[in-house]
């Protein structure tokens, strides 16, 4: 079990502040690093991976600083965004070389295992320069995983992958997360993060805008009404009953059901069954319709 910790980390380039006083702790499991383009995600990842010194603050893995400390790579794997690989090597040669540089006792077996994990066994004896983007990406992941690192950092890992490869990679990251590895991947594609992880670290303009499970983050945004889609045996009568409830700030009647705006998530979800029961209405469907990561993210950006 490894813990990645950033304490009051800032990084500036000349006058430009790229990362501003960020503190975060990554626990085992899969975490998504989310933010619009230019928010500072790559800078944070590079500092975690020991390829950038923080201008202020400390970045540690299991208490050890990552900057100027190559020994951390025993516990860390990095899949950088830049997809350059030694194209003149075959996938097997590349991953075996990674295993040898990690000084593993049986590099060939470790390489075979890593290539198997990313489903590259069939193409392992082809030169990497002949690979498609997705295959290169998987080969790089195999290279980063060959020593089974406790911490795996991936910068935009799904770029260039087709849907099947994407699914497979998500599945792999899930498995690694479940096994207790600490996985952090950056992405600006919300769907990817939503499918892969409930835990997010959201960076906006160099600052940590939110941290934790995005559904919980949404519930903490009490200044924004929560939107629910409700279907019942009698929508119109339910609307009349709901409008009298204190936690409800608006109800719209639509052809497919009701859209209810609630100012307090907890009070509303507790009140709804009571109100429906009292009015003798059967609830058929209740869906929080703005709990998607996308709406959480857009609320954070607007804030």
């Amino acid at each position: 079990m490894s813990v990645v910790e950033l304490q009051n980390v800032s990084r500036w380039y000349g006058n430009v502040v790229a990362v501003n006083d960020i503190s975060m702790t990554l626990q085992p499991g899969v975490t998504g690093l989310l933010g619009p383009n230019g928010a500072g995600k790559t800078t944070v990842l590079h500092m975690m991976a020991g390829f950038l010194s923080p201008s202020k603050g400390t970045v540690t893995i299991d208490g050890k600083p990552t900057w100027r400390n190559p020994s951390i790579y025993r516990a860390l794997g990095l899949v950088a965004e830049r997809e350059a690989v030694h194209g003149f090597l075959t996938a097997r040669e590349f991953v075996t070389a990674c295993a040898k540089m990690q000084k593993l006792p049986d590099p060939a077996a470790a390489a075979a295992r890593a290539l198997e994990m990313v489903e590259m066994t069939d193409a392992q004896d082809r030169r990497i320069e002949t690979f498609s983007k997705g295959m290169r990406q998987r080969t790089r992941v195999a290279g980063a995983l060959v020593h089974e690192p406790q911490v795996l950092l991936l910068d935009e890992p799904f770029n260039g992958m087709d849907p099947r490869q994407r699914m497979h990679m998500m599945d792999l990251l899930h498995r690694l997360g479940d096994q207790g590895h600490t996985i952090l991947f950056s992405s600006h594609i919300l769907e990817e993060v939503e499918q892969l992880s409930g835990l997010v670290q959201v960076i906006v303009a160099g600052r940590l805008a939110a941290s934790g499970d995005y559904r919980r983050i949404r519930r903490l945004m009490t200044n924004r009404p929560h939107v629910f889609a409700v279907q019942s045996s009698d929508d119109r009568r339910l609307a009349v009953a709901l409008i009298g409830e204190k936690s409800v700030s608006g109800v719209e009647i639509e052809p497919g059901g009701l859209t209810v705006r609630a100012s307090d998530y907890g009070s509303f979800t507790r009140a709804l069954p009571r109100i429906a029961l009292g009015a003798g209405i059967r609830l058929r469907r209740l869906l929080p319709s703005d709990e998607s990561l996308e709406s959480v993210f857009s609320y954070l950006l607007e804030a």
Partner: protein, 236 residues
């Protein structure tokens, strides 16, 4: 051979750039053969071919192509990351790369210089040129390896050193010779096999000490720079 040296060598010989290494030594040995075949007096062609072409062009340019090729091109295309994300002491990475760079540069320049020396005078002179070329290859390689970590344009800066500092200033401003690897190489060769062909202008002690400073100092500095290797904070 270490894995880093293996990848470096494969990368070097796998690129078309390695073909650039062929014409210069061939030209050097070819010219010497031609002069020898036509019975031209070595005192007439020796200095022009050995110093003008061998020490001033073949040795530094070969070292530049190889020295920047082993590290600069990996930094340039980003593949260096795969080597840096391993728990290897940065010293081992630089030494492996220096070994490959200096080894290849030494072979490529020392062999034709040996042939040229034998044709110009005798085997002893040929060996003197080869030994001096090996010393020069190590010093140049360390310098160009370091340049690959100091600047994004190591080839350009290397050419400025070879052409402007050593080639131009070295000829007219005598003080610059103290910082010219070419002059150390000439001095060392001239001391091992004194002839009228080589114009040794630098004191041997200076040549040896300064070659060592270039080689060792450059390597230590390169190790330190590689330890602080930063990835550009690209926006994403």
């Amino acid at each position: 051979m270490s894995t880093v040296a293996y990848i470096t060598a494969r990368g070097l010989f796998g690129r078309r750039r390695v073909l650039l290494l062929l014409p210069l030594p061939l030209l050097l040995a070819g010219l010497a053969l031609l002069c020898h075949a036509y019975g031209v007096d070595p005192n007439q062609w020796g200095q022009a071919v050995i110093v003008g072409l061998g020490f001033a062009v073949v040795l530094p340019v070969t070292s530049l192509i190889v020295g920047t090729g082993v590290l600069g091109s990996e930094v340039d295309d980003g593949t260096i990351i795969h080597i840096l994300t391993k728990p290897l002491p940065r010293r081992d990475i630089i030494l492996a790369k220096l070994l490959v760079a200096a080894g290849v540069s030494a072979v490529v320049s020392a062999v034709p210089l040996f042939v040229t020396g034998v044709l110009a005078d005798n085997v002893h002179f040929g060996l003197a040129l080869a030994v001096a070329a090996v010393v020069g290859a190590v010093a140049y390689s360390a310098l160009f390896l370091l340049l690959s970590l100091l600047t994004r344009r190591p080839v350009l800066l290397g050419l400025v050193y070879i052409l402007v500092w050593e080639g131009l200033l070295g000829r007219f401003v005598s003080g610059t010779r103290v910082l010219s690897i070419e002059q150390y190489v000439i001095a060392i060769a001239d001391k091992i096999a004194p002839t009228d062909i080589l114009p040794g202008k630098v004191n041997l002690t200076v040549a040896i000490v300064m070659s060592a400073i270039f080689a060792i100092g450059g390597t230590i500095y390169a190790i330190n720079r590689l330890g602080s290797f930063s990835m550009a904070g690209e926006t994403s």
